[in-house]
């Protein structure tokens, strides 16, 4: 009986360890642009910021634009069509990997208006007014 329990315990530990590794490999951090640019993390990352007006290039299929937060600007290339609400100053979250100084995104989400604001009241008020030569 003792032996059987030991086997069960070892099995559980092995499964838990495996689970932890899988978990660790699939964690995607969500950072604001300023931190993300400072870190340039290796794996898959999510970055939140606002679309800089006048930088949107392309629409259907792929889009390149600049994203800003905390006074830092970064280049994003997104594979796929952005959603309808993608526009200058839109609060967006991109998910993907860094390739040099450009962030290659394959998932682009719009943070919705007031009712979807992140709980900690994070804001992207560095975004210039949409009136300034928006694209």
């Amino acid at each position: 009986m003792r032996v059987r329990w030991a086997v069960v315990a070892v099995g559980c530990l092995a499964v838990a360890g495996m689970g932890f590794v899988v978990l660790k490999n699939n964690v995607v951090y969500l950072d604001p642009v300023s931190e993300a640019v400072a870190d340039k993390a290796d794996g898959r990352t999510r970055i939140g910021g606002a679309v800089v007006p006048g930088t949107i290039d392309g629409r259907e299929g792929a889009v390149a634009f600049e994203m800003t937060e905390g006074g830092v600007v970064m280049d994003v290339v997104h594979e796929g069509s952005p959603p309808d609400l993608f526009e200058a100053c839109a609060p967006v979250v991109v998910e993907g990997r860094w390739a040099g100084n450009t962030f290659e995104s394959d998932r682009l989400l719009i943070r919705h208006g007031n009712e979807y604001e992140p709980p900690d009241g994070e804001s992207y008020d560095d975004c210039p007014d949409a009136g300034d030569g928006s694209g």
């Binding site: 899988v22 969500l30 259907e60 299929g61 309808d84 609400l85 709980p119």
Partner: protein
């Protein structure tokens, strides 16, 4: 006026809960049956108070009584009647009210059911516990989540519900079903706690709560499936499950609840797994509270974050108290909970149930870890992160496949022990069918290991269920000359629990196959078309015909009219609502038994007149909904009281070699 009346109803409910608990407590302490009988009457008071509060809320919504903050925030004059009705649970305060209504309803039915046992301490304690939970939720509405809070300045018009909650009639069904599921687990929880307190943790309390547990489980199943359907038909991202924290929150109690429904049978049969069963019930309840916390406190980012609120800490504190209380109770009773029986053989029904339970519990642990990990990381590391879908898939798929295997094998194993001979005979046909399916799929070049394994196990499971049914019918027909349908119906009526369970298993197989196919073989394209232009995706030829715009005070809808050759006209759309900047996409779906064609409008026509359409071909999705329906049907069958068991006489012709099929038919059915 309404505000005052509504608040009064809530106050009455709160007071009723307190008085009920006090009276029952005094009755138990003083051993006075009259007090116990009086105490249970407060359940009626509480139920009526909840009904009144809910009715007042509905009347306020329909009367556009914007002096009430909740009404002003969730209904506009332009909101259609259906969504005015459903606005009662469109935001936090109202959904707590619906929660309380469901809870007191369950409690009232339970109290009525046990009216003859009102003086039984087990029932009295269970009532106290359930009233305690009711009290907590009433108190929430009395304080931090008052649905009848007044506005000092009454607006001319309200803002209307969140766009997502006024875009599809499913809002009338998905949340209430889920709540009926969540809340229903309060009753088994109350009885489990009562069993621990009274020390009567034999098998009696299990029989008392079996039906309620099944009802709650069925509602939760329906709620989850409807949620998936809503996600698919309304949200328009092309999927039905995204491992969203709130989706996970509904899956967690479902997993532990399902484990309980199975392990209960081991305890009823063999008196084993007592601690485990009680723990499962307690855990299921805790997980429903955790689910409410995740859904309603705004701590996680989710498509369900309809409300931010201040009740988060309250729910967390309640969860903490309940969880600590449970652990304390169990450890207090630990030595008495020791089960008399033990597992004789690793190849037996009870061993299969045990493995099934470990798998369910493991699954729950995997989902729980992935769901709360971001919260912990944010709390302790101050970093925001999400756990990617691959984590859930990589961990969940093997567990799901193992569960499918044990689901197929479990019902074939006899209790206690099995001889290799019996096992071989029972598994022969199903195993061959499974193996042949596997070979055919591999030869045909089917993609995906998980898919091929899931389909083969599905075939294995279906055959083994079919075999059980055929043998049962044959045995009846041999014993008394009944026609096949009559024999089938009488067989099911004679043991609704077994055959109801097998029907549920058929539903599970359908769901599993649909999940595997739709996850593995989806085709996803984006096409950009000008008016009159066509494109072909996977054999479907789509022609963009033009745009139609519908304007109503509630919303403005832009539809792209798309002709699909041979199927007709479809119109994926994007709606914008006056109270929100965002647009809400509405997919247009052609549903088929083999596959769905799923069209979404990604970007509405621009200056040059082109639209971008999302085109997805999703195989076998419809079987997900059908499978869900079959699961519910099976649960309903299992809930029907079995006819007085008319046993098939086991008088075999030759005593030295008893007819194995007949023996099996009797054995499986017991």
């Amino acid at each position: 006026m309404r505000s005052a009346l509504g608040y009064l109803a809530i106050a009455v409910g709160t007071a009723g809960s307190v008085l009920g608990i006090a009276t029952l407590g005094a009755g138990l302490h003083l051993r006075r049956d009259s007090l116990l009988r009086a105490g249970r009457r407060y359940v009626g008071v509480v139920f009526v108070a909840a009904i009144c509060a809910f009715a007042i809320m509905e009347s306020a919504l329909f009367a556009h009584d914007f002096s009430i903050k909740y009404v002003a925030g969730n209904v506009a004059r332009a909101t259609p009647g259906l969504y005015t009705f459903t606005a009662a649970w469109a935001a936090l305060e109202g959904s707590i009210l619906l929660w309380v209504l469901a809870l007191t309803g369950y409690l009232a039915v339970t109290t009525w059911h046990f009216r003859a046992r009102a003086t039984d301490p087990l029932v009295a304690w269970a009532t106290i516990v359930a009233l305690g939970v009711t009290l907590f939720f009433f108190a929430l509405m009395l304080g931090p989540a008052n649905p009848f809070e007044e506005l000092s300045r009454v607006p001319v018009d309200g803002t209307g519900p969140n766009p997502l909650l006024q875009n599809h009639p499913l809002v009338a069904f998905h949340p209430p079903m889920l709540y009926l599921g969540y809340v229903g687990f309060t009753i088994p929880f109350s009885f489990a706690v009562a069993a621990l307190i009274t020390g009567r943790f034999g098998e009696g309390w299990l029989a008392d709560v079996r039906r309620t547990t099944l009802v709650a489980w069925a509602f939760l199943t329906v709620g989850i499936i409807l949620g998936a359907w809503w996600s698919y038909e309304v949200l328009g991202w092309g999927g039905y499950w995204g491992w969203d924290p709130v989706e996970n929150a509904s899956l967690l109690p479902w997993l532990t609840g399902t484990a309980f429904i199975h392990s209960v049978m081991v305890q009823e049969r063999r008196g084993m797994l007592r601690v485990w069963n009680i723990s499962l019930v307690l855990a299921t309840f805790c997980l429903t509270i955790l689910g409410t916390f995740l859904t309603r406190s705004g701590v996680v980012e989710s498509v369900h974050s309809f409300s931010e609120s201040s009740i988060g800490p309250w729910l967390l504190a309640f969860l903490g108290v309940v969880a600590l209380g449970c652990v304390a109770l169990i450890s207090w009773r630990a030595d008495k909970l020791r089960s008399p029986g033990r597992i004789d053989s690793p190849v037996s029904r009870e061993a299969a149930f045990l493995v099934n339970n470990l798998l369910f519990a493991g699954f729950a642990l995997v989902v729980l870890t992935g769901t709360v990990f971001p919260l912990l990381a944010e709390a302790f590391q101050d970093r925001r992160l999400t756990v990617g879908e691959p984590y859930f898939e990589r961990m969940g798929v093997p567990i799901g496949i193992a569960l499918l295997f044990f689901m197929a094998v479990g019902p074939l194993l006899p209790w206690r022990a099995t001889s290799g001979d019996v096992l071989r005979r029972r598994l022969l046909v199903p195993a061959w069918v499974g193996a042949i399916t596997l070979v055919v799929l591999v030869v045909a070049g089917a993609d995906g290991v998980a898919q091929v394994v899931a389909f083969s196990l599905g075939a294995f499971a279906l055959t083994s269920i079919g075999r059980t049914v055929v043998i049962g019918i044959r045995a009846r027909r041999r014993a008394r000359a009944e026609s096949v349908p009559v024999a089938a119906v009488r067989m099911v009526r004679g043991n609704t629990r077994l055959y109801g369970g097998l029907i549920v298993h058929v539903g599970v197989v359908l769901v599993a196959v649909a999940l595997a196919a739709s996850q593995g073989y989806v085709v996803k394209r984006e096409v950009t078309l000008t008016e009159g232009e066509s494109a072909t995706v996977r054999g479907y030829t789509l022609t963009y015909l033009g745009t139609e715009i519908d304007r109503s005070p509630q919303k403005t809808t832009v539809k792209a009219l798309v002709d699909v050759e041979g199927l007709g006209e479809y119109a994926p759309a994007i709606s914008t609502f006056p109270n929100s900047r965002g647009g809400i996409g509405t997919p247009s779906v052609h549903t088929g038994f083999r596959e769905d064609l799923y069209l979404t409008l990604i970007s509405s026509p621009n200056e040059t007149g082109t639209v971008t359409l999302g085109v997805q071909v999703n195989p076998m999705i419809v079987w997900l909904w059908i499978g869900g329906g079959v699961m519910v049907l099976g649960t309903i069958v299992a809930l029907i009281p079995a006819r007085r068991r008319s046993r098939v006489p086991v008088t075999s012709e030759s005593p030295e070699s008893p007819d194995s099929e007949l023996v099996e038919a009797v054995e499986v059915a017991t």
